[in-house]
Structure formats: structure tokens, C-alpha cells
């Protein structure tokens, strides 16, 4: 993996390690301060496993006051701090620095309040995304954003990354489902933005903090909206002879006024890989395979499914199957959810990209990816959250072959640049982190980036909180790494990724 420049290591901090450990050991229970290399090892990377770095020390605060006191101490002593939730992020947002205090929020793992009257849940940040739904589903409620790693990712991390999911077309991403947060700023200030009411006074700091990738504050409490579970959910599995037909079908479904809960497309390469891997039974002759899902009341879902069927047929669909039961619907999804592991068996390694494009540009972008695939002589398969234009190309390569790795990185960067060129974005849901940091200048000019940095400096004048992330250190569009999977194994092989 190409070397990645991180902020300059402060050698005086390294030589002061013992003092820092003992100072923080007076702020919090010393048992919650880890400094031995064996204790630090589990924290050396997150979901972007290509990069590893041991932190100076790991601290595990238990209360918001402890978080505040540690941050205040680090601010006064000019020690860098990297916050970390469950460590499942795919863009390296929690990658430690050699001279940093890694603030692991794992002890903030309790749901504090379930409030059905206001339809919200107040929780500590290291509760998993799925645990919130589990806590309220017996009353028929759920938390809508559903990143594929929801079994393991923390809600605090979801806020920091503004995570999306398969259903964000209809229900929005994290930012649209949040009511409030409690945050500690780098200077130790504890404050709440939002609460249980739908809006709050003054500037929308809740919105600014969401997706700020741990650069502006440490989240210590989260209040999320919960929704009543839909009465029924139905899906259709549709095959198309060309990518263009599938793309047109997506555009027409949206234009007709049906907003599906989820709409996914897989290309032929991925469909084949999935069929071989999980016996998903997807149509093998189709160039593109689509799953479209509607939820709501019975009549509503029936009406939308019928409309989607008509639109698919008009756009030359080669096969079409509507789920007759919930089991069948889940079977449709099982193949899609096995798509990433399926790529893992096709090649020693794959890299998962995360670009966002206008829905109508799907065919054009896929043609370009095919062209690039030939140019770089590396196979690629494509999964696409078609409803909201979020593309996940999976580039297959061999990390043991340096030439193959370099080609893969160049290929990936070219795809993201093309996404921006057609009016899309560098990242739809994984965040910038360290992964796409140097590509930021593809999307923004210096003034745009400078404005963002000025906000950072306003809240963290010494740039001590999660430095080296999101914004380029080098003034160049370097080709850095992507989500890298070796031998089909991610850092957490049991976490679903789709």
C-alpha cells in the first residue's frame, strides 16, 4: 500500500508517554488507560485495514465528565486525540496516530431512554445501530438508517460518518433521523445540540457535527427518531438485457412518483459471482439485475409493485419475480448481501469503492468502469444503491503483486474522479477519512476547503482532534488506498458489507 503522510509526530509527546499515562490515570480509573503494546494492538486499525498504526495510549472513559477532563488535559498539553466507536468505519476515520491518545468510547454502551410518546430513543454512542431497533421492535418500531454493518457499527460512529444504508432513499441517512446529540469539544466544553423537539434554536450545530468524522467534537449521547414499522414489505427481482434498460427503469420508477424503500442493481459480473457463491438463483442471462422493494400499507405496496412491474416490462425486463412471502423477499436480498464475500473468492483481494452519481448516469459510468477495467487489466464487479445513486465498484487484484496493487489504486481513483466529473460525489456513505483525503481537491477548490478548515480551527484551534483526516495534507490528488480485502477476509469477517 502506498505510504500515507500523516501529521508530523511530536517527539516530545512520545518521550512524555509515561507522564501522560499517569496524568490521565488520575483523571479516570487507571484500569481504563491502556499503554502496553499488547493492549494497544487491537486498536491499531479500523475497517480500513490497509493502514495500521499503534496509538501512544488508549483511554476508555466512562462518563461525559471524564471525556471532558481528558480532552481538556490533552488540549492544554497539546496532545492529539483520535475518537473511536466500534472501529468498523471503512475510510480510516479512527486510524490512530503514533503520538495520539485514542479515545475508545466502548464503555458508553447503554440505551438511556426509550420514549414512545416522542418516538425517540436516547442512547450512549457505542450502542450498535441494530441494538436500537432491537430495543423498540416489540412495540412495532424501528430505527431507519441501516448501514450494512449495522450488527456491529456504533450509533455514535453513524453520527460521525452520517451513515446511510439500503433504505436511505426513502428514509434518509443518519442526519435526517437524528434529533439531538451531546458533544464534548476539544477544549472540554460539554454541550447538547438538539434534543427531543424536532428543531432547535440558533445555528444547526447538530447538522454540522453529523458527518464531521470526529474532527469537531466527541459524541457522548445520541437521540434518534424511531419509526413505526411498515405493515408489509414486498420486493421484486427483475432482470434486464442491458444496463441502459435497468438505468432507465430506475429513472422512470422515480419519475412516476413511486419512492421505493430500496432499489439495488448488480451487474452481470457480480450476479454471476453471487450465484456461484451463494446459489442465489439470480437470472444468469441478464446484464443487470435489480431488486426493488416497497413498504407501507397493503394497498399502497400493491399499487407501487404493480406500477414498478409495468415500468420494468416497458423497459424490456427479461425476468420478473415478486416476493410472495417475507421469506422469499429475504431470499432475494440474501444474494445481494453475499455479493461482497462472493468477490472475495474470485480474486486474492478486492477493493470496495464508494462513489455517488446521478441516477441517470449509471450506464455511462459503468461503461467507463468497463473501459478502465480493460485499461488496467483488472476485473471489476459493480453493486449499486440505484435509488440514491450510490455506486460500489469492487476491483479485484492481488495485493502481493505490487504492480497489481498500484494498478488497482489508480483504477479506483479514476472511478471516483469520473463520479465527480458526471456530477456525483467522492463518497456516498463511507466518509472521506484518510482514504479519499487527497481526492478532496477533485470535488472542492482551495476556497471551499479553506472555509471548512476555518470552521475546524474555530472549534479546535490547535487541530488536535482527529488531525490528518478528511482534508488533504498534501496539495496533490494522490492515489491513495480504498477498502482493501485480502483473501476474502476483512478485519471483521463476520460483519456484513454490502
Amino acid at each position: 500500500m502506498s505510504s500515507l503522510q500523516m501529521p508530523k509526530v511530536d517527539s516530545s509527546i512520545l518521550s512524555n508517554k509515561d507522564k501522560i499515562v499517569s496524568d490521565i490515570g488520575r483523571i479516570i480509573n487507571p484500569k481504563n488507560v491502556l499503554s502496553h503494546p499488547d493492549e494497544l494492538r487491537p486498536f491499531e486499525t479500523d475497517g480500513l485495514t490497509a493502514y495500521r498504526q499503534m496509538p501512544l495510549v488508549v483511554v476508555m472513559p466512562e462518563t461525559v465528565e471524564e471525556v471532558s477532563n481528558i480532552l481538556k488535559y490533552c488540549n492544554d498539553s497539546k496532545v492529539k486525540v483520535v475518537p473511536r466507536g466500534a472501529g468498523t468505519g471503512l475510510s480510516g476515520g479512527s486510524l490512530p496516530l503514533e503520538d495520539c491518545v485514542l479515545m475508545a468510547m466502548g464503555k458508553f454502551n447503554k440505551i438511556l431512554e426509550i420514549d414512545y410518546e416522542n418516538r425517540c430513543v436516547v442512547t450512549q454512542p457505542c450502542v450498535t445501530n441494530l441494538a436500537i431497533t432491537h430495543a423498540v421492535q416489540d412495540k412495532g418500531f424501528y430505527y431507519a438508517p441501516d448501514p450494512s454493518s449495522q450488527i456491529a457499527c456504533s450509533i455514535g460512529g453513524n453520527v460521525a460518518e452520517n451513515s446511510g444504508g439500503v433504505h436511505s432513499l426513502k428514509y434518509g441517512a443518519t442526519t435526517n433521523n437524528l434529533l439531538g446529540i451531546e458533544v464534548v469539544l476539544m477544549d472540554g466544553t460539554i454541550t447538547k445540540f438538539g434534543g427531543k423537539a424536532m428543531d432547535s434554536e440558533g445555528y444547526d450545530f447538530l447538522g454540522l457535527m453529523t458527518g464531521s468524522e470526529g474532527l469537531l467534537g466527541v459524541i457522548t449521547e445520541v437521540t434518534v427518531k424511531i419509526l413505526k414499522s411498515p405493515e408489509i414489505v414486498k420486493a421484486a427481482l427483475i432482470g434486464f438485457p442491458t444496463i441502459e434498460d435497468a438505468g432507465n427503469c430506475v429513472a422512470e420508477i422515480i419519475a412516476e412518483g413511486c419512492i421505493p424503500a430500496g432499489m439495488e442493481i448488480m451487474d452481470k459480473a457480480l450476479t454471476k459471482a453471487t450465484n456461484d457463491y451463494s446459489k442465489a438463483g439470480y437470472p444468469t442471462d441478464a446484464e443487470a439485475m435489480m431488486i426493488v422493494e416497497f413498504d407501507g400499507t397493503e394497498h399502497e405496496v400493491e399499487a407501487y409493485i404493480e406500477k414498478a412491474k409495468q415500468i420494468a416490462e416497458k423497459n424490456n425486463s427479461s425476468s420478473l419475480k415478486v416476493s410472495k412471502s417475507n421469506e422469499e423477499r429475504l431470499k432475494f436480498w440474501a444474494g445481494r448481501k453475499a455479493a461482497f464475500p462472493a468477490c472475495g473468492v474470485l480474486a486474492p483481494d478486492y477493493m470496495c469503492m464508494d462513489g455517488s452519481i446521478p441516477r441517470g448516469k449509471l450506464a455511462e459510468v459503468l461503461r467507463e468502469i468497463t473501459r478502465l477495467s480493460k485499461k488496467y487489466d483488472l476485473p471489476v464487479a459493480n453493486a449499486f444503491h440505484a435509488g440514491d445513486g450510490n455506486l460500489h465498484p469492487l476491483i479485484m487484484f492481488d495485493a502481493n503483486d505490487k504492480n497489481s496493487l498500484k494498478k488497482c489504486e489508480d483504477f479506483g481513483a479514476d472511478i471516483l474522479k469520473y463520479c465527480v466529473k458526471v456530477g456525483g460525489a467522492l463518497t456516498g456513505e463511507h466518509g472521506v477519512g484518510i482514504e479519499k483525503r487527497e481526492l478532496m481537491c477533485e470535488a472542492f477548490n482551495d476556497k471551499d476547503i479553506q472555509q471548512q478548515l476555518t470552521i475546524k480551527v474555530a472549534l479546535d484551534p490547535n487541530s488536535l482532534l482527529n488531525p490528518g483526516k478528511v482534508y488533504p495534507i498534501l496539495r496533490k490528488c494522490a492515489e491513495e488506498g480504498r477498502v482493501h480485502v485480502h483473501g476474502g477476509k476483512t478485519k471483521f469477517p463476520d460483519i456484513p458489507r454490502f
Partner: protein
């Protein structure tokens, strides 16, 4: 795109009101004002300009000529417009494609001038006031996909884009929504549009009691019938609604259901059963009457031509009843929107004692207020917006990061910001 460095414009800097029609002109005006530290009032179509504190600005930047649709892609669900574009023009264009701004921007024209003036898109984003669909689809800020603007130094900046999923850098769309023009002059706005529902109907429940109404609203919002609007009008406002299918003229609770025809009928039917309503207790408005009813709500038409002070109070739904009971004065007229979370309160007379009471009560109940319309004598001394000291400090820093010399609408929200 970088702005051109050496453009020529015919701007006369001696005038007090600038009406630019290009971004280059806006940049030049702001740069000039930044250089000379001249405060600028940013204005649009004058629909909401009375909301906010009194402040002194030597010059006015009037964006009403900076208008027009730049790009509208119905199939991509967005429209990109210049900031001064009237909401009415945008809604007209969307209507042709059976689409809408789902957040239902309030039309404050009726309140301030007695006739419709829904203002400009720039003003709607700057105020972030959303209509009745708030609890289902979010606020204006949830629909702002991207913007281009000019910061207080005269630099053109942007954030977001036209795609819905975008987590590249800080989400500046959010911080600019509801900033009342104190951070950046918006120039281009990309906003999410959504299909209009096939049809909509409204269940109107005859009921004068606020407690009962809040029960109905709470139950509806927690049901799988998925309502998209929930209001309560007390007795004195009932007479404002004269509709064919409305069978009474007293206090009423209105719940809107939208979607495909079959489904709407099914859900209305189910909701009336879930709420255990008996036949003579409710009526159902068809789609035409539904549109009239909810437009009146969105436009605050019950306060048309009223001389009262108007306060917008937002609290968690669980607190609404207590807030109303505590603030119940003889001259209070109010109605409830957002399924129980938004209270529009009209007082014939306001003074600092009543206002500090309102402040204390809304704060105690985890909410806040905004003074929308207020008698001139009292305006100079009243807190129009609330804020706590910690957030004030942070706001000062954020203001400085966008507008270091405090030239944009200085003091419109808070002293010193």
C-alpha cells in the same frame, strides 16, 4: 469553479441598495463591503424580512434580481436555482412534472401583508421554517442538497451537490439553513424535490379539547397509517374553515393521509377505527378540500390581518399540553401543527414579563421559541431568538469563520453575531 478575478461590472458603490443580477456582481459588492467593513442587509422578496432583530446596515444586498432556474432534473429529483428565485416560480415548474417541495414552505405573506408572498428560495433556506409535513419528511435543511454562496470575505464557496448521498466534508448545507443570512450570501441552491402523492384526504375530528386532540395526534403518528400532517385548531379558529364536507364549525383535529387512492381510503378508514371515532364525530375531506385546508395551515391564514404578536414555539410532543396550560392567558389564541410539536401562539399584547415567562417555560419543557411578528414598540428590546450561553459562544466562533468582519445581517439573530 473559481470566480473570475478581473471582471468588469457597472456597479455604483455610492448607492445604498444593490440589486445584482450576476454572481460576479455579488462577489464584488461583498468584497468591497468586506474591505471597508460596511454592514450589509441581505434581502430577497420581503416576505420574512420582518422576522429578526432590528439592526443597522448601511447597504442592502437585494437578491430579487438574481433569479431563475439553472437546472431542473425531475428524474434525478432535484432543482438547482439562483437564490432570489420566487418559491412560486419553482412550485409552478415542479407542478408540471407532478412534483413538489415536500417540506411545504410557509407563506408568511398573509401574516405580514394580508396577501400571498411565499418569498424566495434563498429566504426559505435562510429561515428553515417547514410546514405540516415536518415530522414525516424533515425540514428545509433536510432537502437542501447543495449550495454555492459568497462568504463574508467575498470568496465563493460551495458544499454538497445535486446527489442525495454525499458525505464529502462538513455538511455546510445544515449550518446555513436557518442562519438568517448571517453567515453567507447564498447564490445557487440545489434542492431535493419529490413526487406529489397521487391523492390525499384529511380526517377531521370534531373536538374542542386540546388534551383529546393531542391524544388523537399522538396515536395517529404512532400508527402504521403513516399520516403526513396533524393539526389542532381550537374553537375560535374552527369558523375559518368553510368546506363542503366539513360538518361542524368548532374546534377540530385534522390528520392528513397521502398516497395511492386505494391505500388512502384504506388508511383513513383504519385510522378512524383505531381512534375509536363514532360516525357523527368526524368527516373526511377529499383531495381538493384537503389542499385548501393544508394551504391555509401552511400560510397561517387564521392570523391574516391580525394585529397580534405571533410566537412560534417548538417543544417535544409530550410537553405541548403543559406548555399551553401554563401559558394560557385570556388573550392567547393558538393552533398546533407538526402532529403536536409546533405551537403558533398569538398574543394581543406582549411585554418583557410575559416573554421571559414564555422563555422560561419553553426552556423548561426542552423547547424554544422564535418571535415571528411583534409590535414595533417592543421589538427593539425583545429577544427574538433564544440561545444558551455555551451555544452563543460557539455561534460567535462559527460566525467569525464565515464572516470575520460581521458584515452580513449583523445582530439580526443575536447581539454580537
Amino acid at each position: 469553479m473559481e470566480e473570475k478575478q478581473n471582471f468588469q461590472t457597472s456597479l455604483d458603490f455610492n448607492q445604498n441598495i444593490f440589486k445584482p443580477s450576476t454572481r460576479e456582481e455579488i462577489v464584488e459588492i461583498v468584497k468591497n463591503c468586506y474591505k471597508k467593513s460596511i454592514p450589509l442587509e441581505i434581502s430577497g422578496l420581503q416576505s420574512k424580512n420582518k422576522i429578526g432583530r432590528n439592526f443597522q446596515a448601511e447597504k442592502t444586498l437585494d437578491l430579487s434580481n438574481y433569479k431563475g432556474i439553472i437546472d431542473y432534473k425531475p428524474e434525478e429529483l432535484y432543482i438547482k436555482v439562483k437564490a432570489g428565485t420566487p418559491i412560486s416560480e419553482i412550485e409552478e415548474a415542479l407542478k408540471k412534472n407532478n412534483q413538489q417541495l415536500a417540506f411545504e414552505p410557509n407563506d408568511f405573506g398573509y401574516l405580514f401583508s394580508g396577501e400571498s408572498n411565499s418569498g424566495s428560495i434563498g429566504g426559505v433556506v435562510a429561515c428553515n421554517f417547514a410546514g405540516s409535513r415536518r415530522f414525516k419528511v424533515g425540514s428545509v435543511r433536510d432537502h437542501l442538497l447543495g449550495f454555492q454562496g459568497v462568504n463574508g470575505k467575498g470568496e465563493t464557496i460551495k458544499s454538497g451537490g445535486t446527489v442525495v448521498k454525499n458525505v464529502t466534508g462538513y455538511d455546510l448545507c445544515k449550518i446555513l439553513s436557518g442562519s438568517f443570512g448571517t453567515l453567507t450570501v447564498l447564490t445557487e441552491i440545489s434542492i431535493k424535490v419529490l413526487p406529489k402523492p397521487e391523492t390525499s384526504k384529511t380526517l377531521i375530528i370534531k373536538n374542542p379539547h386540546v388534551k383529546k386532540a393531542l391524544d388523537y395526534l399522538g396515536q395517529s403518528l404512532s400508527s402504521s397509517t403513516d399520516p403526513s400532517g396533524g393539526v389542532f385548531y381550537p374553537d375560535y379558529f374552527g369558523k375559518n374553515f368553510i368546506l363542503n364536507d366539513l360538518t361542524h364549525d368548532g374546534g377540530l383535529t385534522g390528520i392528513r393521509i397521502e398516497g395511492p387512492m386505494n391505500s388512502v381510503d384504506q388508511r383513513i378508514n383504519r385510522l378512524s377505527k383505531e381512534l375509536a371515532l363514532i360516525d357523527n364525530e368526524f368527516s373526511v375531506l377529499d383531495s381538493v378540500q384537503t389542499e385548501i385546508f393544508w394551504n391555509k395551515t401552511k400560510n397561517l391564514e387564521v392570523f391574516k390581518n391580525s394585529k397580534s404578536n405571533l410566537i412560534r414555539v417548538v417543544v417535544p410532543i409530550s410537553e405541548t399540553l403543559q406548555v399551553i396550560q401554563k401559558l394560557k392567558k385570556d388573550d392567547l389564541n393558538y393552533f398546533i401543527d407538526w402532529g403536536g410539536s409546533l405551537i403558533w401562539m398569538a398574543f394581543d399584547h406582549l411585554n418583557s414579563k410575559i416573554l421571559s415567562e414564555i422563555k422560561e417555560i419553553t426552556k423548561k419543557h426542552q423547547g424554544y421559541y422564535t418571535l415571528i411578528k411583534i409590535e414595533d414598540d417592543f421589538k427593539a428590546s425583545a429577544d427574538i431568538f433564544t440561545i444558551d450561553p455555551i451555544k452563543y459562544k460557539i455561534s460567535e466562533k462559527i460566525k467569525k469563520s464565515f464572516d470575520p468582519k460581521r458584515i452580513f445581517n449583523p445582530g439580526k439573530m443575536y447581539t454580537g453575531i
